[in-house]
Amino acid sequence: MPDSPVMAHKTDASSESADHSHGQHPPYLRHHFESVEQQADATNFAMWLFLLTEIMFFGGLFTAYLIYRNWYYPAFVAGSHQLNVIWGTTNTVVLILSSFTMAMGVWCAETQRRKGLVLCLILTFILGLGFLGIKTIEYSEKIEKHHVPGFHYSLQSFVDPASDPEIFKEYHDKPLRADMARHTEVYFSLYFLMTGMHALHMIIGICILGFMIFRARAGAYTSGHVTFVENFGLYWHFVDIIWIYLFALLYLISRHQ
């Protein structure tokens, strides 16, 4: 039925899209948006909604940590004394620096500096790997001392603190009774869960950064379309904020008592 109005309409539409040359608007403006500005606002809004779900996700872990810390307070204090504040501080500084280089990367993309953007992304990538490297050192200390929850978990450092001279000379912890010492396993479960989920976010971020470095070298983000870099920046800063709280809660608040 070549004469049917439906067919005629279809033909019109397809010839129109063939003619459509993207001459009237930038090629990155999707057709369901009125303007580039509307597209940027909508994407930014969506990214924030995703980050809110992430706040709720980590929020659950933080709440569990606070409740168990109240329940098994002596065990949590003794557990946190096993963490090395110097490594923790170094990692905080590394992550803050990586947030700064990422923010500078967003600025480079916005002002269309291709080389600057590539440099910033590479620095962010390296600092991210540095963070994970330091985390690996900390984790391996826990593995050596059998402080990873599970069958091989050891209560030695908690029922007999003097047997762990490095920690003992700094804190002079009193021995915990065996039933309370058992609950240090809860502390380390939450420690590995929270820092592990954070590290997973870092690993995902570093993978995306690798992809972005590749694309940025080809000039993908320095021709006016910066949404991807901007939204990745939001993700990276969010991961930084989670670490700021993890550092305070896991490393800092139980040093006395």
Binding site: V36, A40, L52, I55, M56, L66, I67, V85, A103, I244
Partner: protein, 105 residues
């Protein structure tokens, strides 16, 4: 160097390096302060100070690195609503745990 209120092509404000350097510096000072405070014996104030400094640092990151200060009202409302909701959830959960079975945990 571009000014913080420079307009990009799509009408969004571009935040410049000067602001980022200032925030980086404040965050590093905050980190130093919070580590220093953790070495002092302040009793119940230790966690309060640590969390207050962490929250200040987080606010600096959200407002400047994450551009919320320069964002649309919709973004500001979204961020505020999310944090507010989180605070409602955490404070109601904790107040439940703190107020039941006094002293038996």
């Amino acid at each position: 160097m571009s000014e913080p209120n420079e307009q990009a092509h799509n009408g969004h404000q571009v935040v410049g390096p000067a602001v980022y350097v200032a925030i980086l510096f404040s965050l590093l000072v905050g980190t130093g302060l919070t580590v220093w405070a953790s070495f002092l014996e302040l009793g119940p104030w230790n966690p309060i100070i640590a969390l207050a400094i962490a929250t200040t640092k987080a606010m600096l990151v959200v407002l400047f690195f994450m551009h919320v200060k320069y964002s649309t009202k919709l973004t500001k409302l979204t961020v505020f609503a999310g944090i507010f909701m989180f605070l409602v959830l955490i404070s109601m959960t904790l107040s439940d745990y703190i107020s039941r079975a006094w002293g038996s945990w």
